[in-house]
């Protein structure tokens, strides 16, 4: 045990001595979380739109003013023909075109249905969807105002309460996601790389002939990273809490506890990768290529798992990040207790054990051969 701690201390010295890496290790997550906190959002402000108003009456003018007043749109161009609208989309100068037919007001006041047409650039479905939703909501509100002068009887009014995120902020979604990505990649890459490095430089053999058992060596190498990753967790949580006002409704200790479980899983995965590679280059390629995009896209961080085809919903079950993101959201935003998330916790612990057993097996084979 004493030799183990001596070993861990040696590893700490290595890490602390390399100032540049240390700066990268702690500086990057902060920069990223701040950058993404402000920049990664679905909320539109002032999207450029164009209007082709063939009616030009009081009602259409008022409707256009309403669209602009919402703050979501800014009226950049007016058009006189369909050709011009087509040209505008080809040049990508607008995100959406609003086409108001002739006699818009007259049709409306005569009690018939007045159509307006929204045209979006479907090549970016995210934007297209969001803008149509905004515009529809604004037009509906506009319509209600028009009829409010003579309120209809037998009205069912709905009071919507946005639970957990009253202002519908994107940052609530993405803080758990970015935190997961950072912890996953830093822990898994760091471990696989530090072990591959010893192999590449030939120092691994030196350690293997020492009286320490191979598993002790590996554990000694990863122990410092547990601490570093926990510090990173605290930094990220602090930035998201103080800068972006993302609440921590549940227990802070539970939050740190489940982060620890996730970190252990990532480290175990890093060890597994390192048992399969001999060079830092391939360790890194495997960590990045195999982990980065799947963690981002199959974990529910960016795209809801429910929207995926069924096969991929099953596939998402082997992505560790999925469980961590669920737990983070539950504890941070919903204030859930351990009783709500224990099954996710068990899955992550199971994965950790599985990865460790597999690396142990790889390791023994290597030594035996």
């Amino acid at each position: 045990m004493k030799s183990f701690f001596a070993f861990v201390r040696k590893e700490f010295y290595h890490i602390l001595r390399d100032r540049r890496t240390l700066l990268i290790l702690f500086g990057m997550p902060v920069v990223q979380i701040i950058l993404f906190g402000y920049a990664v959002t679905n909320e539109f402000k002032g999207a450029d739109i164009g209007v082709w108003d063939q009616s030009k009456d009081a009602l259409s003018t008022e409707l256009i003013t309403r669209l602009e007043a919402s703050g979501h749109f800014s009226l950049a161009y007016t058009y006189q023909s369909r050709d011009q609208v087509e040209r505008a989309f080809q040049d990508a100068e607008i995100k959406m075109a609003v086409i108001i037919p002739a006699d818009f007001g007259a049709t409306y006041y005569s009690g018939r249905t007045a159509d307006i047409q929204l045209i979006t650039d479907g090549t970016n479905p995210n934007t297209a969807n969001t803008l149509v939703n905004y515009a529809s909501a604004i037009v509906q509100g506009f319509q209600r105002e028009q009829t409010d002068n003579r309120p209809l009887p037998f009205q069912i009014s709905v009071d919507s309460r946005m639970v957990y995120n009253p202002e519908l902020l994107s940052v609530f979604m993405f803080v758990p996601g970015v935190m997961t990505l950072i912890l996953m990649l830093v822990s898994a890459m760091m471990t696989s790389l530090t072990i591959a490095r010893e192999k590449e430089l030939g120092t691994m053999e030196l350690l293997l002939v020492s009286p320490l058992s191979p598993m002790t060596i590996i554990l000694g190498k990863v122990t410092p990273y547990i601490l570093l990753s926990l510090i990173n967790t605290v930094i990220i949580l602090a930035v998201s809490y103080f800068v972006f006002k993302v609440p921590i409704v549940g227990s802070l200790w539970l939050l740190l506890g489940l982060s620890l479980v996730f970190i252990l899983m990532a480290l175990a995965l890093g060890i597994l990768i390192s048992t399969r590679t001999t060079t830092q280059q391939s360790a890194m390629m495997i960590s990045l290529i195999m982990l980065m995009m799947p963690t981002m896209l199959l974990s529910g961080f960016i795209f809801p798992i429910e929207s995926m085809p069924v096969i991929l919903q099953y596939l998402s079950n082997i992505i560790p990040a999925k469980y961590f993101i669920i737990m983070l959201k539950d504890v941070m935003l919903k204030g859930s207790a351990l009783t709500f998330i224990w099954n996710e916790m068990v899955v992550l612990l199971g994965m950790t054990v599985f990865f460790l057993l597999l690396s142990w097996k790889n390791f023994s084979i290597r030594l035996g051969g």
């Binding site: 519908l168 280059q281 896209l297």
Partner: protein, 375 residues
């Protein structure tokens, strides 16, 4: 020229000699492209709605039926008290809970108005907003039906007041198929990751092993060395892009309306920018470990601020400026324009210019730092 060809062949030999590398450069990106493209959809469907019906009236049952019949919703529960209702939200077993108060039907008759409450799980803000919109639409439809039944004369009352109907059309992609947008974007992202990592590790690796010194005492010129290191990765990148585009065409049938030469021309320039950034990282880093972390840092920023997952236009202005050197942002935009809309060179030339500037700037910087460390 021969020196450069020799250097290229040497790099390719080294890359493919590594057994782990061949699948990482060929099969893995294609498989990921296919799998992830299926996953990448923001389409909101099958929203889980739980209805806490305290009214137990004909109307409340009809409203429940209306939700069940809607294509957007799945009935997922009928909680019997508020705690249960909130628990469903907390456990993610409901996206929306509709609370129908006792006496809803009676109020509607007697007071000519009734209230309801929706609890929307808004952890995912945009999904919550959309779910709320859909639910409101269902309730409004129901409201209109009921009103027409109770008081047909209302219709007369609203004479002289029409309705505004919003129609929408999504051009170039009428069904808002996410894949046509995502396949080129994910492809570009995967290739960028690959190439950035390969180049970022390359020079620093030769330095760590000591072979760079051997090269420095040979008559190889600096430009030959740089070209000899750039071109192999450019080839690998172009190869992956070509395979990916073919796979996208065959499997997802993504349209390629614009010129294929324009697409590949841009790919070359785009890859050069990635290579220049990778080279700079490699010449600046002391160790492969550092190179990897710096590469990873920029990769995260490139990907999450590349306009693929959240629109660049929704970023604050200062953040939009930051996307100018981002190769993924330009790639996503150009592929979208040329492949799906058939834009011509004139339409996308500003992206060519941007990538040329980025390549030149970072390339010069890389050569300069290489000189400095080489001396």
């Amino acid at each position: 020229m021969r020196t450069i060809l020799v250097l290229i062949r040497k790099e390719l030999l080294q890359v493919f000699r590594n057994k782990a590398m061949l699948p990482l450069l060929t099969v893995v990106p294609v498989v990921q492209l296919i799998v992830l493209s299926f996953a990448a959809s923001n389409e909101v469907k099958d929203l889980k709605v739980a209805i806490y019906d305290q009214d137990h009236s004909t109307y409340s049952r009809r409203l429940t039926q209306k939700f069940a019949a809607s294509t957007y919703f799945l009935l997922s529960g009928a909680p019997q008290n508020l705690q249960d209702a909130e628990l469903l939200l907390q456990k993610d077993e409901a996206d929306i809970v509709l609370l129908i108060p006792a006496g809803m039907e009676r109020d509607l008759y007697r007071l000519q108005r009734a209230d309801m409450q929706l609890l929307v799980n808004a952890v995912n803000g945009s999904k919550g907003g959309i779910a709320n919109g859909y639910a409101n639409r269902v309730i409004q439809d129901f409201n209109r039906e009921v009103r027409a039944e109770i008081a047909p004369q209302i219709l007369a009352m609203t004479a002289g007041q029409g309705r505004i109907e919003v129609n929408f059309q999504h051009w170039y992609n009428p069904l808002l198929d996410y894949r046509t947008f995502m396949v080129p974007g994910i492809l570009g992202t995967l290739v960028t990751i690959l190439i950035l990592v390969l180049t970022a590790m390359n020079v620093v690796r030769e330095r760590e092993i000591g072979t760079i010194e051997q090269l420095n005492v040979t008559p190889i010129r600096k430009y030959q060395l740089i070209l000899g290191k750039l071109l192999p990765f450019l080839l690998i990148g172009l190869f992956d892009l070509a395979i990916g585009l073919i796979a996208g065409k065959l499997i997802f049938n993504i349209p390629i309306i614009g010129s294929i030469w324009l697409i590949f021309g841009f790919c070359v320039l785009n890859l050069l920018a990635v290579l220049a950034i990778g080279m700079l990282i490699s010449t600046m880093a002391d160790t492969q470990q550092q190179a990897m972390f710096i590469a990873w840092f920029f990769m995260m920023i490139f990907i999450l601020m590349g306009g693929l997952f959240t629109p660049i236009d929704s970023m604050p202005q200062w953040a939009q400026y930051l996307t100018y050197p981002n190769p993924i942002a330009h790639f996503v935009e150009v592929m979208r324009q040329v492949m799906l809309k058939g834009s011509t060179f004139a339409d996308v030339q500003e992206h060519f210019v941007a990538m040329a500037i980025v390549s030149l700037f970072f390339g010069t910087l890389a050569v300069w730092t290489y000189r400095k460390t080489g001396a």
